[in-house]
Symmetry: C2
Amino acid sequence: MVKRTSFEGDSCPIARSLEAIGDWWSLLIIREALFGLRRFGEFQGKLGMAKNILATRLRALVDHGILKIAPASDGSAYSEYVLTPKGRGVFTVLVALRQWSEEFDDHPEEIATILVDRDKGRPVRKLELRAEDGRLLSVGETTLKARPAARARRRAG
Amino acid sequence: MVKRTSFEGDSCPIARSLEAIGDWWSLLIIREALFGLRRFGEFQGKLGMAKNILATRLRALVDHGILKIAPASDGSAYSEYVLTPKGRGVFTVLVALRQWSEEFDDHPEEIATILVDRDKGRPVRKLELRAEDGRLLSVGETTLKARPAARARRRAG
DNA sequence: CAATCAGGTTTCATTATGCAACCACTGGAG
DNA sequence: CTCCAGTGGTTGCATAATGAAACCTGATTG
């Protein structure tokens, strides 16, 4: 078997995320969906991708519970793809990617848009990682710990 | 040309990020690098990936300025791959992916580790998007605006 | 009910991925 | 210096994923 390694059973949450949204198009589709797109044709037109690929991706995203198929909205017999809460949860990931690009891209002048607070029209803050007590944390100030066994399926406590 | 679409010139910062780190292995390599790995063999052993793929990815990451090749560290004639600031900047993206998994994964009990504050050993907070004035923002409370032309290379201040 | 459109599927060529075998250079033992 | 294992790759080949374009089907329009 020379399959494209899957991380489905992997214990690393990052790998698990990548399993679902770790490919080129999926994140862009979700971006557009957050932006309000819903129809197959809208995605296809906006992203300019091949229809077969789009179809495959949409199906995968639905399977992963990131999109769900909703029946109507404009009364036609066609259906639409709408984000589930899980799908909307990807927003933070997209913001992180955006901000990384804004901060480190070699040609930031080519970036066309900025993310702003809708009310004030002002740019949003950078995402920050904080400790429980509010302290700002850098990479080096964090570490990984084994998950506390969760005492699943209780066996002698 | 039936190439694997590139987003190099794309004006969307998310697409631009994906161009650099939007594939399966790159993010995992960066994760390991943040964790302290530096040598080819370490990456290969830890990630269990094919050596040719690893070699390709490392080269791409170096080209993108995410890793750089450093000469020694233990005195041997071999070289090492170390993260640049740009590479360390990916940390936030990885945290976002991790937290997404923690929140929405269908089998969270399979996640083996948690990210903690090194000092206190307590879990970190969730990443939050805030407005300039500190208000917490959800997707719907944000919007995209055209970048203000930047008046680059100072022309009348 | 003919024409057209939305939403796909099929086909086929091109790339990328993955395993395994191979190769060059290091570093150490003798 | 020589041999040999270990490190850090490259090369070949098989398989899977991508992508463009043609094709098909049911819905909408006229």
